[in-house]
């Protein structure tokens, strides 16, 4: 394969039931910066049954070109049909870089596509950059449970493919009414063998920690449900969301949808208050990009104190009620 045959950056615009996923817009924001560095075009790809109409939003958020494949076989997500469509578009349009949101669907689809194309795929990237001289994308991701950061390259295969963690990249401000080139790609599908027969939405909706400005999280050090309830009260007093470390989720203090960290959600609020959280790397991987981090912990040697902006050494059962009282004062 001639590497120079491949040009441009393509963002996979994941939609579910006709709704674009947030991460698609985040990838366009990042893609715009990378495309400028490379001096190439930014395109978006959307697959589904009736998805042409989603192009308006993709243009507003930075796509210069939008490719779409429409077929009734793409109505519900199918690994096989979506792989057929995705690979057909890549083979026809030859982007040098392809970015996919690392959602549970993106992480199903991307490896299948990369294996069919026999190219490299880097999972769950948290930062991307360009080596302009070599025209390579530098893909940085946490590995080893977030204990090590690794920058990965894909020098001799195209496209260079990455999945990117939701909530990490920033959307650019939408340019209302901005238009670009819209192009339909026709695809021949093979039969699908694994069929989605029902989509079940669970009432317990994912807490949107990703967009939260303030998060108050509790960890193992909450000590009890009562202790964790104080964490919830503080979140309420500050108008924030409730987060948790894995230990707190495993102790059953709160549902997994609140979990922040390597195996939970990645967040970047203005304010993150970690209560009774020791500061395991596993947790830090999900919240270290918060603007301001406050730690409340009774163990003065807890690692979290090295990683916070301000810390209070004390029992959260005393500190939180006192702080809530303090907040009530004018």
């Amino acid at each position: 394969m001639a590497l120079t045959d491949y040009k441009g950056i393509m963002v996979y615009a994941e939609q579910r039931e006709g709704e674009l996923q947030n991460v698609a817009l985040e990838l366009l924001g990042e893609g715009k910066k990378l495309a400028a560095k490379l001096g190439v075009e930014l395109s978006a790809l959307v697959l589904g049954k009736d998805v042409k109409k989603l192009s308006d939003k993709l243009f507003e958020y930075g796509a210069e070109k939008v490719y779409f494949v429409e077929d009734k076989i793409l109505d519900k997500y199918s690994t096989e049909a979506y792989t057929d469509a995705f690979t057909a578009v890549i083979e026809a349009k030859k982007p040098e870089i392809v970015m996919i949101g690392a959602t549970t669907i993106g992480r199903d689809l991307a490896p299948r596509v990369s294996a069919r194309l026999k190219t490299g795929l880097t999972a769950d990237c948290t930062s991307l950059d360009i080596d302009t001289e070599k025209r390579l994308i530098l893909q940085t991701r946490p590995a080893f449970g977030g204990n090590v950061m690794a920058t990965i390259i894909c020098p001799n295969h195209r496209p260079q493919m990455s999945t990117v963690r939701p909530g990490v990249m920033e959307k650019s401000a939408p340019e209302k009414g901005k238009k670009g080139v819209l192009e339909e790609v026709k695809v021949t599908f093979s039969d699908i063998k694994a069929k989605v027969v029902k989509i079940v939405k669970e009432a317990k909706k994912q807490v949107s920690l990703g967009d939260a400005k303030i998060i108050v999280s509790g960890g193992r050090g909450s000590g009890s449900q009562k202790g964790f309830n104080l964490v919830k009260e503080l979140a309420k007093a500050l108008g924030g969301e409730v987060g948790a470390s894995r230990a707190a989720v495993e102790a059953g203090y709160v549902g997994k949808e609140h979990q922040v960290g390597q195996t939970g959600q990645t967040v970047k609020p203005e304010l993150y208050i970690a209560c009774g959280i020791s500061g395991a790397i596993q947790h830090l991987a999900g919240m270290q990009n918060a603007r301001t981090i406050i730690a409340i912990n009774k163990d003065p040697n807890a690692a979290i104190f090295k990683l916070c902006d301000f810390g209070i050494v004390g029992d959260l059962n005393e500190v939180i009620p006192a702080f809530i009282e303090e907040l009530k004062k004018a």
Binding site: T119, G120, I152, V196, I294, A302
Partner: protein, 266 residues
């Protein structure tokens, strides 16, 4: 058509949850980290054993890794697997997910007929979740990832596939590859007697294959066969002041309020 052969892919990993930062130096404490069977893989194995109970299928576990990875094969045999395959060769070293999946796919092909391949969704040392789907693609069979429940009826499976905010009900026939998550089941403990048998190879089959035992193109193995390369690795950097506020609860919360106001956070 009943299910006869189930293959489970397992990996030995360092228990990354045990890794802590030295609070004084800020560096990683790597010593004494135990190696374990990757947690998601254990759920995959448990499901295979549950399906074995329902169908009488033979369960074969495969791992790719250095000699010491044999430990998890013995553990798998002691949990109830019938046969274990260890693929190990210097040529496999430094493999990324594509080269790894190519190697494992070749081992699965060599085993012959199979109905279900089960793997963990992801390994805790790499967290990529890529190897399962990449094997399914190279075997040319459908996949269902993030599996949280499995019902079996002959060669038909009804599977629940977890999403961020719910799940899909998916219907699929064998052959198929499934990747397991924690919600799927609760893994059983290894049976001590079976552990002993497994160590002594009594009534259990444990085989070792190198690259020459597989039908593989050597340029697709290991580092050479990996499209991705590690350009550099480094410790996550954290630059924060870590200022401890006050010495009494009263003083601390007052100072905290002031700091937050200064930063316009409240």
């Amino acid at each position: 058509m009943a299910v006869k052969n189930i293959i489970v892919l397992i990996k030995q990993v360092p228990n990354t949850n045990e890794i802590k930062i030295d609070p004084v130096t800020g560096t990683l404490i790597r010593q004494g980290i135990p190696s374990i069977m990757n947690p998601d893989d254990k759920h995959a194995l448990e499901e295979a054993l549950v399906l074995k109970g329902k169908t009488g299928a033979k369960v074969t576990v495969i791992t790719m890794g250095p000699p010491q990875a044999e430990t998890i094969l013995i553990e798998a045999l002691a949990m109830g697997a019938d046969k274990a395959v260890h693929i190990s060769d210097r040529l496999f070293g430094g493999a990324d997910t594509l080269a790894t999946s190519y190697t494992l796919m070749s081992a699965i092909k060599k085993l012959g007929e199979f109905d279900i391949v089960l793997a963990g969704r992801e390994a805790i040392d790499g967290d990529t979740a890529q190897v399962g789907p990449q094997i399914a693609e190279q075997l040319g069979i459908p996949q269902v990832t993030y599996v949280k429940s499995v019902e079996i009826n002959g060669n038909k499976l009804k599977v629940q596939r977890a999403l961020e905010d719910g799940y899909y009900d998916i219907e699929v026939e064998t052959p198929v590859l499934l990747t397991a998550i924690k919600d799927l089941n609760k893994p059983r403990y290894p049976h001590i007697g079976q552990m002993f048998d497994a160590f002594n190879r009594e009534g259990k089959e444990l085989i070792l294959w190198g690259a020459k035992d597989l039908e593989v193109e050597t340029e697709r193995l290991g580092l050479k066969g990996s499209p991705t390369q590690v350009f550099k690795s480094f410790s996550p950097t954290i630059k924060r002041s870590g200022e401890i506020l006050g010495s009494s609860v009263d003083e601390s919360v007052k100072k905290l309020k002031t700091r937050l106001k200064e930063r316009h956070l409240i």
